[in-house]
Symmetry: C2
Subunit: 832 residues, 2 copies
């Protein structure tokens, strides 16, 4: 095994031969069974040289782009940044994919897992002309090339990774692990698309990537496109070797077959041989794919196919300098970033750089004006077939609106607020069911095996779970053609969904609240992608990424502390307000209204937090629409003496906090009939923010009108309490805000006891009111004592009976207006 | 394939035969080559029945534990919670491991990936007596059994998962994915330990688990213990089948061999046959392990071994009711949680429950007092050999202090503050090197291939990177015996480290700041574990989990926006202040002091944020110790007119913000010599918190003394600015806090420009001072204009030259006291 690795790792002979030699040698190879004609080989090699030249140029040069004068220090960038190691491999593959696209008229995009090889696809896009079409200031000429070089990893320029700025990319390559899940997401429901996905051998060590190999069990060759994984073994990560490059061939082969693939190996360093071998392997794979699709589409074959894949083993920093200062560079980890850094200061390093650049013979590749010569351009597919211009990589251009049924049709009747119990997510499931039924090719739902647990069961009436691994009697709704995507991997679900959205489709992800943190980092990257693309005019808006976060912190009756974490909202709020939205609908009708809004939106990450347990319903659909449209509002019907200045404001956000707030009002009005209580419910959390801080923020005037400028505000919040302070700390009345929320006081207990532990229960809220309303303080000692006793009594009760006292769990809002309570009808007439 | 699955999934015959039948059949089996004698088989089966009985009892019963009277509704819990499906499999394995422990005198712990099968290990611990030793109120008698049953998933009781409360566990089973990485972490440096690790087939779909199979490439059989993975295919997750249970045998076999294992298969449902088969497979595996260790330890074998593993394919909910209400239960996903819920209300369900419980024949398993009979107890290893009592699963009992050299020996000389440039993490690397050298068996460092990138290079002088996959010339510091743990998987690094710490050792994890979010969820679970164990007296404190978060947001010169995220601190601060610490040392000496403190601490998660780039140094070691001990303090030497009441306070936390703050002071004092500026630097972020909110919080008196009660405070912070508001919003002077921090204004640019974009640069800070100090406002128009011009000039400069203006990047603190600046010597005499 070591010998084989060394053979690749230790390459130091010169892989760059003259065109004449190449042609002569190729003639031999071709007659020996090579698949490439001498001309094809020449073109492939010329294109690869051109792309490599432009890649090195981006990393090193800021002037003299075609070396038409001797290389001087001032031509070299003062700060050398970027990654060379993976780039020639990415370029090599690009060249070959282009050949196949032209030959077979393929619709193909290219996902580069080792996206830090950013110079590669930028070079390719420039060669193909897309770059200059997209960025006219970077023309396909000498001046444009100079600009191309200078802008790379330069202030005001482009990142060193494959990025939103890179034409043809749907995959930011900074954080590793998502190449395959993005690729599969792109291929779902795109029967004509082939997604070539390079997996770096570093990336292959990550968990998300390791899990995503199994995505092939969720592909339907009859309906979906194809993913062609190309595992690129260049042997090293930043400093260490990679696991997959060092296990022996048989072990690697077992692994890849165990993932369900048929691997084809291309190993070596000699360009000519590698061109022939790769072309042959790629031809075989594309033949296999065509055959698989034919069998599934024409012959009705239903067996899961063994999809082909390629293993490309080539030196890291291939075609780079063999050694610098006596140390190996090509084939070594030293090629990972900038292979040598003193090219500006050190004459011998500059000489190495110049020799390296000239070894690609740029004078043969670019004409006088700097434009690529015909021999290079011949490898460019026409128009949208160019991978750098494929519309699937700018999904917004393909995006069509969802056909969404009228969400009001799913309304839960609410005759009296705060009475009937409904599982809100179950109602939402019915709406999602009908969206699935009417959008057969551009909408899917995703969940880590929690779809039913989250009560979205109705979706299975419209479709099945995607499953292509065989079924047995007793299985529930599995089908090759299913559109409910369930794998017990939040990473894979998120990656699939991102790939699906980025290629112009729609989706919905439901997840347990505590475990959505598993994809915190993926959320970060997607939010940053959206934020960046908002500033890129040619990137068209894509559908929002919609999370339903459920099975939430307040109802982990048996899962306990490990399942109690409402912090995803905090995490999300660290990103730009322009790209994130957080909704906390308190009941089913508000959930429907919010979901409808989210599914229609573009360029956001929408987080909807809603419980799946039976819970009280408050608003009929008309009121729900008004309330959700405002995002925040006074609930007159739940307030006492609503026409008077309030003594206290009770704020609430989230289903359980809303219920406890109303129960607190109930307690208070029975004891203090004269107390004027205002209830403010928040659905759209970012309404709390100041208008200067985000597009949904309220003005101070509006905020003060809701929360007053001087009255105590007792705020019951779904998550960690300080988030409400963060959102409101600049408000006039912030000093009077007292927020109750989750404080990591979790355990295995009853629903109400969870609230008590964290003091968002009705009694603690009512006591907080008593403590903050000056005129109650003196008269309320006995009431306060009564509440305390109730808590003790409840505590004793649950330890005996294991469930909440009936008067707690069966509590409902009284429909009969109590003292000072405006009756429900009146409130309806003037919705606030 | 489908047929094979069906064979297992469709088992509905009765697996519970009489003891007599069992013995008779076994005699036959044993003579046919079964490894178990009839007596052994009887004992194994009796123990399994007992554990299963106790498991079902926990889920369903609150009284009548041994069914000594007919089962009545009131014996059944009102709320039925818990997971049955995986439990009998866990119990089955437990019984067999016990047999092997006794037979071979093994030192073994048991990690249960499907930890929601919590009733299993609780039952086992109770049978083994450990539970009653640990919790005397749950005695090994009838009353104790009743308590055991009632407490499960009951208010005031225990969670339904394997949890910190469970004796013998180091692995909370709520969030899936970490069974193998925890197991390997436990096995490192424990040559005599065998860690049996059950991987559920649901968990096997997660990314972290998928990646962690490759942990075997980092094991040294000569020095480390062994991990025995047991892949438990019970076919279903919550509602869907599992991928690994449905791919065909050959594909699964390829996969597991590709992971580097030799798998042994035990498949079926007939208990007798399964006992024989599992015993045989386990014997084989343990023989293999002994042989591997012997070869490595006695014969000097250095080839990486193929470690054995077991695949156990058995029905979900094995031995549970075959069907309920006409629907399959055993062998179906319906067994996942509580197989049927109406046992209290519905007579026929209660009858099913009673039959089910009685099918285990409890009267044969427990004596009159409720104690397990001898036939059951015979399967219990003695004392600490019981897996429920193994000290490795209560690592604090084994924890020894690290031998830490005097950190002052690594001090960087600082003659004049704010002058010399040092890479702080490189200095820390020297200290870590010597800790590695002097703690050869209980300290390791972990990084996702970023050790060198993070400048901890010196550690490789003391040891190598752990690597057991073969090496080639040119490799850098790889060895089977290495103690630097590098795999490109944050999940695996974190899992290894957790397993290592939980078994009583020490460790240090360095990671890029942006990508530490990858383990957000793992951090959550570990912090919750620590928080919970703080309340469990028999759990002894373990070493803290230490993160060095580096390659931080302010220095992503080429990686750009995708690598810019300082939000891990925010995430961490959502957990209990009792278990988390966050440090932002501004230079090398403070970093050394902080690291020393963290490495000595217990039961915390310590997050140290420090850049790896060359940066100015401020404090000599004596001052650094004083400053770090206080955690926050006035820097008199950097303040102007320090003996007067300040006009303004400049707060700073983090290396880059500190530098920019000092540069702002420099600007201000040159323009406004009379201005009294106080500089307050924060190392220990939680000092900002109020003392009532956490153990490191300052009193209001102390806080006000630093930040005044009424002067403007311009605070430059490393991360998202609102965190400082969150920590200080209750302080007297909070209304005057103006925090500058990262606002997601990121891009590929120069270091200083990153600061400018986010307004934490010297000019913006100085302008903020001008704007907030009333007496400056009128006189400062020209100065403000000058600063603005400087920003414009800089912006133009970097777009031409690609690097910061020399006067920016070369800026140093002037040692010569300027007007109003106390000279450095004076400051030294009275450190604050």
């Amino acid at each position: 095994m070591a010998t084989k690795c060394r053979a690749v790792a230790q390459i130091i002979d010169n892989p760059r031969e003259s065109t004449e030699d190449m042609i002569n040698n190729t003639a031999r190879t071709h007659s020996d069974g090579g698949v490439l004609t001498p001309t094809e080989l020449t073109h492939l090699h010329a294109w690869w040289r051109a792309a490599n030249y432009l890649s090195v140029g981006q990393i090193y040069l800021m002037d003299n782009p075609l070396l038409r004068e001797p290389l001087q220090p001032e031509h070299i960038k003062p700060r050398l940044l970027g990654h060379w190691g993976t780039t020639p491999g990415l370029n090599f593959i690009y060249a070959h994919l282009n050949r196949s696209i032209i030959k077979r008229d393929l619709n193909m995009i290219y996902i580069m897992g080792p996206g830090h090889g950013g110079p590669g696809p930028v070079a390719a896009g420039w060669l193909e002309g897309t770059y200059s079409e997209t960025y006219p200031d970077v023309g396909q000429d000498l001046e444009g090339m100079k600009q191309l070089f200078k802008q790379f990893s330069f202030p005001g320029g482009i990142p060193s990774h494959v990025a939103p700025e890179t034409p043809g990319s749907i995959h930011e390559g900074g954080e590793l692990g998502y190449a395959l899940s993005h690729a599969y997401g792109a291929a779902f429901d795109n029967p004509d698309l082939i997604v070539a996905a390079v997996v770096g051998d570093g990336e292959a060590e990550t968990g998300p990537l390791a899990a995503s190999w199994h995505s092939n069990k969720f592909m339907n060759p009859a309906r979906d496109g194809a993913v062609l994984p190309i595992l690129h073994l260049n042997g090293y990560k930043i400093a260490s070797p990679t696991v997959l490059a060092r296990i022996d061939h048989d072990e690697l082969d077992d692994l890849l077959r165990g993932y369900g693939h048929t691997p084809y190996y291309v190993e070596g360093h000699d360009p000519e041989q590698m061109h022939q071998d790769f072309a042959r392997a790629l031809d075989t794979c594309l033949d296999d794919i065509r055959e698989i699709q034919h069998r599934a589409r024409e012959s009705g074959e239903t067996e899961r196919p063994r999809w082909p894949m390629i293993v490309l083993r080539s030196p890291k920093g291939w075609t780079g300098p063999a050694e610098v200062d006596g140390q190996d560079v090509e084939g070594s980890w030293r090629s990972h970033q900038v292979p040598f850094s003193a090219a500006r200061e050190n004459d011998s390093h500059r000489k190495i750089l110049e020799d390296w650049l000239r070894s690609y013979r740029p004078e043969e590749l670019f004409d006088d004006s700097g434009e690529p010569v015909e021999e290079v351009r011949i490898l460019h597919p026409p128009g949208d077939r160019r991978m750098s211009a494929n519309p699937h990589a700018n999904g917004g251009t393909l995006l069509r609106d969802l056909r969404i049924p009228d969400f009001r049709d799913y309304a839960v009747p609410v005759e009296q607020p705060g009475t009937g119990q409904v599982e809100a997510t179950r109602v939402l499931g019915q709406m999602l069911r009908d969206i699935l039924a009417t959008n057969l090719h551009n909408f899917r739902v995703f969940a880590p095996d929690e779809n039913n647990s989250n009560r979205l069961t109705a979706v299975l009436e419209a479709t099945d779970r995607a499953w292509n691994v065989g079924t047995v009697p007793g299985d529930d709704h599995l089908a090759r053609d299913g559109r409910v995507m369930e794998i017990l991997s939040e990473h894979t679900c998120q990656g699939w969904l991102e790939g699906y959205l980025l290629t112009g489709r729609h989706g919905f992800f439901s997840c347990y609240e505590a475990f959505i943190h598993i994809v915190d980092s993926m959320f970060n990257q997607h939010a940053k992608w959206l934020d960046t693309t908002n500033g890129i005019p040619w990137r068209r808006p894509i559908a929002s990424l919609n999370y339903l976060v459920t099975s939430h912190v307040w109802r982990q009756d048996h899962n306990g502390f490990s399942h109690q974490d409402p912090g995803f909202i905090d995490h999300v709020l660290n990103k730009k307000p322009e790209v994130i939205r957080v909704y906390l609908p308190p009941d089913a009708n508000t959930l429907l209204s919010v979901a409808d809004h989210c599914l229609r939106s573009r360029q956001y990450v929408n987080v909807i937090v809603a419980g799946k347990q039976p819970q009280l319903q408050y608003l009929d659909m008309d009121d729900a629409i008004v309330h959700c449209t405002k995002g925040i509002g006074i609930w007159d019907w739940a307030s006492t003496h609503p026409d008077t200045e309030p003594d206290v404001v009770l704020g609430c956000a989230g289903d359980v906090p809303t219920m406890e707030t109303l129960a607190a009002v109930d307690l208070l009005r029975s004891h203090f009939p004269d107390l004027s209580i205002r209830v403010v419910n928040v659905v759209d959390l970012l309404r709390l923010q100041h208008e200067s801080e985000g597009p949904h923020g309220l003005s101070d005037t509006d905020f003060d009108a809701l929360f007053t400028t001087d009255k105590p505000v007792i705020f019951a919040y779904h998550g960690y309490p300080w988030l409400i302070h963060r959102l409101t700390y600049r408000r006039t009345n912030h000093g009077n805000f007292h927020v109750h929320g989750f404080r990591e006081e979790g355990t295995t207990t009853t629903p109400f006891d969870m609230c008590v532990l964290n003091r968002i229960d009705r009694f603690h809220l009512a006591m907080a009111v008593i403590d903050r309303v000056p005129r109650l303080k003196d008269v309320s000692a006995t009431v306060r004592e009564k509440f305390k006793n109730a808590l003790i009594e409840h505590h004793q009760y649950i330890r005996t009976h294991g469930e909440d006292m009936p008067e707690i769990s069966n509590w409902q809002w009284s429909a009969v207006p109590g003292p000072g309570l405006r009756c429900e009808q009146e409130a309806r007439e003037e919705p606030v």
